[in-house]
């Protein structure tokens, strides 16, 4: 049975990889199996975890579960055209709650903590005796402060990017692009590990060429 599973997995893996050549029947078959099985898997998982697990086994003991259930039922009312408009209420509830929740989280983490972490000295007697500071600390602090400030200028939408303001915004986008460059390389490396995982599966588990 395990051997059969490995062969099926290898067949589907190669089918998906075949997309690199071009769209073909093998890819279409693999794609359809992938989409169909995953959609079914999620349906079954959500049904048994939520509806069966929480309302049948768990008897819906947490009152908040019934609030969620009521909102879910309201969503289903869109199947009845005459009162389908009620299905907008649970959507509005989710959107409104999310906006309120994130407002405080983002104000706290993305703004206040960032500003606090940016208040750094360019020079300090604590870096060494007098101005005998280490270049690493000075450059690091300047990069953090200038990068954050100019980045904020770039994302300021109430003023046209012209003159000195535009120049500052250009410095900001320079910092942003530098960050993206570093992030690109880092993320590509993590994607390579995904590829290595698949190649390892093909050569180790399926073909047995790697011992």
């Amino acid at each position: 049975m395990d051997h059969l599973a490995v062969w099926v997995a290898a067949f589907l893996t190669l089918g998906i990889i075949s997309f690199l050549y071009k769209d073909n029947p093998w890819y279409k078959l693999s794609e359809a199996i992938f989409v169909g099985i995953s959609a079914g898997y999620w349906f079954v998982t959500l049904f048994w975890d939520n509806i069966y697990g929480k309302f049948w086994v768990g008897k819906g003991e947490d009152p908040m579960l019934w609030v969620g259930a009521a909102l879910g039922v309201l969503m289903l009312l869109r199947l009845i055209p005459k009162i389908g408009w009620i299905s907008r209420w649970p959507l509005a509830f989710i959107v409104g709650c999310t906006a309120g929740l994130y407002l405080i989280n983002y104000l706290s983490s993305n703004m206040m903590r960032q500003v606090q972490g940016t208040i750094l000295p360019f020079f300090s007697s604590q870096f060494g005796s007098g101005f005998d500071a280490t270049a690493y600390t000075i450059v690091g602090n300047i990069v953090v402060a200038v990068g954050t400030f100019t980045g904020l200028v770039y994302f300021f939408f109430s003023k046209e990017h012209k003159g000195a303001f535009g120049g500052t915004a250009r410095v900001g986008i320079f910092f942003i692009m530098l960050t993206f460059g570093a992030s690109f390389g880092y993320t590509v490396m993590s994607r390579m590990s995904l590829l290595i995982g698949r190649v390892d599966f093909l050569f180790f588990d399926w073909l047995g060429m790697i011992k």
């Binding site: 769209d23 104000l107 954050t148």
Partner: protein
């Protein structure tokens, strides 16, 4: 006769038990000689005359934890006199809780040198007494017990007063700007490069007779990026309805499918073409990330859309989707607030809305008072942040380089205000 038999059995019994007793007694001997690997046992170690001695902790106090729901109490004490940094007999401390006069319950095992602990297992409707024991390799020495205390429930967290103040300023600014826009005053928002291309991209699809593909990311309606993407979808759908172009939107979340259909339907109604709308424009694929990607890639190469919009929250699938769109020669406009995925969009797409530009775009395109007011209100927050950064950096640099007292005080104040957790 019976007694003799019993004696016989007893001797045999002892002979059998001897190896077992040796095995059992070994850890006890090890513990008494100070060689036990784990000094903490689940049972109380009763001191005896041969036990390693230690002074108990002193000045044990318990106080209510500030701004909680009554689930925390703070304990402080002076460590045992036999707990110096080096060479003491104390190997740790144990904190015991007595709730409503019941049996003591062990709530924490702490390393030597510890002088405080926060018990996070209390409730506001019980009374608690604590004691701490100094643990040696062979015994525990109990401190005096605290006074009984009932945890308080605080409704307001004054540690977050500055966060509240900032939220009030930004929120108030949003309200003021919305009202200003409603009264007809034009609010200026600078041009956003990617958005200028939206009309051209839709027009290109119309001229080529090909559909437009809209990907709203893979997160649900509780993600603000998905909301921003759908807001832009509303504007795009209106242009599409005007041009009578086809739009297709495969989604990975059922709620996004519902919201997407509502958005496009409303746009077609606004454009005066409700008959052109079809529920088939938005279809659910699967919640599975890469299953969704496989399906969308297949759609791209088969339908060959002239324009692809990638607006929402994306993860590892970002480059796969953007690269496939690039491969089929579609004009691509992307936008996300996920920093790790933005480099891929910048590399593979024609226009990219970076981070907050995605949120600003929805306001810019809709030109609605609420969206514009919200954007302008956020700019007030950014202006405050910029001003504080300049002030703070200047103050901390002068203060630390020349040891100017007033500048150090100003730095401390600013850091305290913005240290809200």
């Amino acid at each position: 006769m019976i007694i003799q038999k019993r004696n016989k059995i007893t001797k045999v019994h002892w002979l059998l038990l001897l190896p077992l007793l040796i095995c059992v007694s070994t850890p006890l001997v090890a513990a008494q000689s100070g060689t036990s690997a784990n000094p903490f046992d689940t049972t109380l170690i009763v001191p005896d005359t041969a036990a390693v001695a230690a002074e108990p902790v002193t000045d044990l106090t318990v106080a209510d934890h500030r701004y909680d729901h009554g689930e925390k109490l703070d304990l402080t004490w002076v460590p045992s006199a036999d707990d110096p940094p080096v060479g003491g007999t104390v190997v740790g401390y144990r904190v015991y809780r007595i709730a409503d006069g019941s049996e003591p319950v062990l709530v924490a095992e702490l390393p030597p040198g510890t002088n405080h602990h926060t018990d996070e297992g209390t409730s506001a409707d019980s009374s608690y007494v604590y004691f701490v024991t100094s643990v040696t390799t062979s015994a525990e020495y109990e401190s005096a017990r605290t006074e009984a205390i009932v945890p308080n429930v605080e409704w307001l967290n004054f540690d977050k007063k500055y966060l509240f103040l900032l939220a009030l300023i930004v929120g108030g600014s949003v309200v003021i700007f919305i009202e200003t826009a409603r009264r007809g005053k034009k609010l200026f928002v600078r041009k956003i490069a990617g958005l200028e291309a939206v009309d051209d991209a839709v027009g290109r699809a119309t001229e080529m007779g090909r559909p437009i593909l809209f990907i709203p990311g893979i997160l649900d309606m509780d993600d603000v990026q998905t909301l921003a993407g759908l807001t832009i979808l509303g504007r795009i759908s209106r242009v599409i309805a005007d041009y009578d172009t086809r739009i297709f939107m495969p989604v990975s979340r059922s709620l996004v499918m519902t919201a997407g259909r509502e958005t496009i339907k409303a746009a077609y109604q606004t454009a005066g073409r409700p008959d052109k709308y079809s529920d088939d424009m938005v279809t659910y694929v699967t919640d599975e990330q890469f299953g969704y990607v496989a399906a969308v890639d297949g759609i791209m190469v088969r339908e060959k859309p002239a324009t692809v919009f990638l607006l929402g929250a994306f993860f590892a699938e970002s480059l796969i989707l953007a690269e496939t769109g690039n491969y089929i020669g579609a004009i691509q406009i992307a936008g996300t607030a996920r920093p790790a995925q933005l480099p891929f969009f910048i590399a593979a797409c024609d226009f990219t809305l970076i981070g907050e530009e995605l949120f600003a775009a929805s306001a810019y395109l809709s030109n609605e008072p609420k969206a514009l007011g919200s954007l302008k209100g956020q700019d007030v927050g950014k202006a405050i942040a910029m001003a504080v950064i300049i002030l703070g950096v200047v103050a901390v640099t002068i203060g630390e380089a020349w040891q100017v007292g007033i500048m150090n005080d100003l730095t401390d104040i600013l850091r305290a205000i913005f240290s809200t957790m």
